[in-house]
Amino acid sequence: MASEEYKREYGQHLVEQVVKGQMTRRQLLVRASVFGLSLTAAGQLLAACGGDDTGSSASPAASGMPEPVMGGTVKMIGPAPITDPDPVTIYDQGGIVLVYQFLEYLIDLADDNALVPKLAESWTANETVDVWTFNLRQGVTFNDGTPFEADDVVTSMERVLDPDSGSGALSQLGGVLSPGGTKAIDAATVEFSLDKPFADFPYMVSSGNYNTAILPRTYKGDIIKNPVGTGPFMLDQYVTKQKATFKKNPTYWGKDDQGRQLPYLDGLDYTMVEDNSAQNLQLQSGAIDLQPQTVFQGAQALFSDPNLRVDIYPGTGIREVAFNVTKDPWKDNPNLRKAVAYCLDREAINMALYDGRSNLGYDTFWEPSVFAGSPPSTPRAQDYDMAKQLLSDGGMPNGMDITLTFAKYLENPQYAQIIQEQCKPAGINVKLDQLSYDAYYAGDDNDYYGTTPWINGAMTITEWGSRPAPGIYAAAMLLPDAVWSSSHWDNKDFVDTFNQYEATVDEASRMDLAAKLSQIQSDDTPILLAFYITQLRTQKKNVYGVHGPGSFYCDMSMAFMSA
């Protein structure tokens, strides 16, 4: 099928879904982006739907944003990278936010997780969704003057797929894209031949999979010494565990809607501070302009500071409460797992942990308030009668004693205590097993995944950063071959349905399959998902134009400071 014809048909299909009420307008934008429809084309589709344009990107005037001001340096604050960042292996906030300033991905994520063309101008799949063709942006150069070409994409992907590289992307791409599956058709076209159909593949080469940043083909693993990238800024100075400074890339390809050269800013200063209290105090003192990620705990003073603005935007980060189904009492006993689920008062949890600002979850990844294209969810209210009945059905009529293992990190301890309190009335006694962060993620040298507590505890709380689509989450933790599966869940019906789901393009069919997946996950409840964490970003009131979804990204290419 010719790609343009294919896109036209797919666009028409999306319009029909909206007209039938089977998809919201926001969902149309997100799904359109997955199949490479441009914003203009998506806007035309919305117009075809009739009604108001509820697109995700408001114009500056409409959002009350002043006209961009050129120049200036924004002072940012955040944690130091755990190691000197290497884009191939980074996994922590400090490393990701830094490399994001001078490296780019084929695709970026908008604040609502819609895909935004970056180094790829467009992309399309074949009918069976197992071959994806990406058309690369022309005229882009790395900041050392080397032109960006398809070979750079091929080497970047092959690098992260090489087990020797140590890249975490391998765990995400495994089973979907193998070494040798990426080919340069010509200097401006790349083709990905997948191991299996995967409709969410564009997310895997987006900034949502942070190790897939595009590096020059000559990259030797020395990004700090040779910070060569195509991004809006250039790394100017890097002092380990202290600071990084950036200056604008004068040859950056990006321009705004008015044709003005991006970035607006002259530079960025990033101060590395581990402690959240210290970060907040620096913000309040006026020494810092922007904190890309603000942690809820301790942020109350920032909300009330007249000089600061805390942006709240939808996030998809979770705290996965996993029932290890290979261990008692959870083994072959979904009733007991669901009993715990019915003990939870999710609104109270949201209020206690996030001031009521996060989105509620009901133990499935297909949550429509968070992920576009998800079927309506079935809320799970606290119901102790139901919990006691499920306990009885599960062979524990007198209640049970369970152990919850978690790291002393972020809001995990508070969340664990709430679970403990809310389970008590049903007769479920939760023993809290709090470990240090290092101990929770430690494991034996010779058998890490067979020994580490976060994968092997009977019941665990594990913090996950944002993922852009429910399929990405499910592939990472709910499939039997997922290396990060704390639940060890192995449900054939779910696996078969999931494979169909990822091989399906038709949105109505995808919605049906998503409903089925959601039902299976809910019925079996291998994990509890009580909420999807809303993200906070704090800046001085004169800082505008900062974008970036999820917990780690911070797109400064359109940021500016008003007078």
């Binding site: 140590g166 565990k241 020494a287 290092d438």
Partner: protein
Amino acid sequence: MLRLIGRRLLLMVPTLILASLLIFALAEVLPGDVGRSILGPYATQEQVQLLNEKLGADRPLVVRYASWAGNFVTGDWGESALQKVPVRPLVLKAFGNSLILAGFALVLIVPTSIVLGMFSGLRRDSVLDRTITVSTLSMTVIPEFVSGVVLLYVFAVWLKWLPVSALPPDGSNFLDRLYYLILPAIPLMFLELGYISRMARVGTVQVLSMPYIRTAVLKGVPRSRVIFGHVLRNAMVPTVTVIGSQVGWLIGGLVVVETLFVYPGVGKLMVDAAKTHDVPVLEASVLMVAIVYMLANLVADIIVALLNPRIRMGG
């Protein structure tokens, strides 16, 4: 005296060897490994093993120690596997920063503590004595993360009199650096004031009860001469010993203050290195602090010997 110094310096060698062995052994029992620290929890086991092989972290402990020690004594401190920079400049820079902060804090702490302790001792059981004792001990029990946050909020956020970070801008002169260190030095002063002034007070009270002080007073020696010529000199013996024992902590134990005030000192460097199994950095940092600790105690002993001839003779 010279023999005493020589013997103490020689004793440092086996102590440092033992310390370095202990660090290697303790790093071994910490959960995790350097490969996992670099690649994170999401890398596969095979990837971590490959990296550990490349870094030589999979070799037996004895082999790794022998290799590290052999290089260290020849001046090659190795490279940080995590930061990918040579260890020596990394550690020496952090150590230098810690020395400056500790030195500045000591300049504030020592005279203030001694003066307060002396006054307290000279006015034993008076209102002044009780006021000094209660207030300095109260300050001592406030954890530095509490006093630090309060001080930051009041002086940096609210009044904006002092900078919120201890790290001055690049190119700052020495006085600017000290200005930036005022706020972080105050929690340290709070912690040490009660302890050292208490020792100065006890020393003063003890010396005041000595027969030779009574004799001097009865002989009509002026009070100022009694205090500065006899009391101060002898009362300082326990105080100096305590100060000597605190110097090591002031250089290597300021993790909380360094974290809160964003100061790149050796304490934070050590903790980070321990958490990430960066053994070369951990070894070098701990040994530097150990050397300072031992030297500070040696200097304290020398000062005590100079203050008290009986100790010198015994030595």
